[in-house]
């Protein structure tokens, strides 16, 4: 699917623990050439999203994992329980775009939920890079800035 036009929303941002990048990027790279996916645990406030942890769930798509993902709902249930134990919520989703820019596709739009932030990580044979962060605003995605924070809060 061709990428949608993009714009940036400057009023909110994602504050992301450095450990989240350290957890996700190796997993994203290891999954190439398939799409891999997971959930983002943290909090959502008026200023945006604070991401403390990331999970990785199974991709249930059977025949075209190179360009589609469907997160195992049982993983969502487990992640929600873990989030509750940590005093957090599931506030976003990450997934990879193998050999493709980190821009939401029309397929991503079709399945997106308002209130989540979506982190898209581009992967290639050489590895994974930091990617870009998006939220659903009205009928389309807008990009938000992601700030790496040095440590998780206690």
């Amino acid at each position: 699917m061709s990428p949608q036009p993009t714009k940036t929303l400057e009023t909110v941002r994602a504050e992301v623990a450095r450990t989240v990048f350290e957890d996700v990027l190796p997993r994203a790279a290891a999954g190439f050439p398939n799409e891999v996916c997971g959930l983002l645990l943290g909090e959502k406030g008026e200023a945006g999203w604070r991401i403390e942890h990331a999970t990785q769930g199974g991709n249930l798509v059977v025949d075209r994992q190179h360009d589609r993902y469907q997160l195992d709902p049982a993983h969502y249930l487990d992640a929600d329980r873990r989030a509750r134990e940590l005093g957090l919520d599931i506030v976003g989703v990450w997934h990879t775009h193998p050999d493709h820019p980190p821009i939401p596709s029309s397929t991503d739009r079709e399945h997106a939920w308002a209130g989540f932030t979506y982190w898209i990580v581009p992967t290639t044979q050489q590895g994974a890079s930091d990617g870009r962060w998006w939220i659903l605003e009205g009928d389309g995605f807008v990009e938000i800035e992601a700030i790496q924070t040095p440590e998780q809060r206690p």
Binding site: G57, D67, P73, Y76, T107, H111, A114, G115, F116
Partner: protein, 93 residues
């Protein structure tokens, strides 16, 4: 009637005033999802079609089990049961 709790996912909590859990009285999963509307108007429409079928972008678990592997919306619920509404998470490049 059994008293059951329904776990509401983050994207739908705007319809529950921010509440993560809603308690209702019902005998089946489907009745529980219908009953939630009395407390939180608009939520049922996000979960069920006009015909009362579960929407495709929503998964519902009773305890650890997807209700699609049980008796669907007709699955009986015991007192104290825990129902989880889970948004389907999917996409692709």
């Amino acid at each position: 009637m059994s008293q059951v709790s329904i776990r509401i996912p983050t994207p739908l909590r705007s319809l529950t005033g921010g509440a993560a859990d809603v308690s209702v009285d019902a005998d089946t999963v489907g009745a529980a999802l219908q009953a939630v509307e009395a407390q939180h108007e608009g939520l049922k429409g996000r979960l069920l079609t006009a015909e009362g079928e579960l929407r495709g972008f929503v998964n519902v678990f009773l305890g650890d089990d997807d209700i699609r592997t049980l008796d669907g919306l007709g699955t009986a619920v015991a007192d104290g049961a825990s129902i989880s509404v889970l948004p389907a998470v999917a996409g692709g490049r």
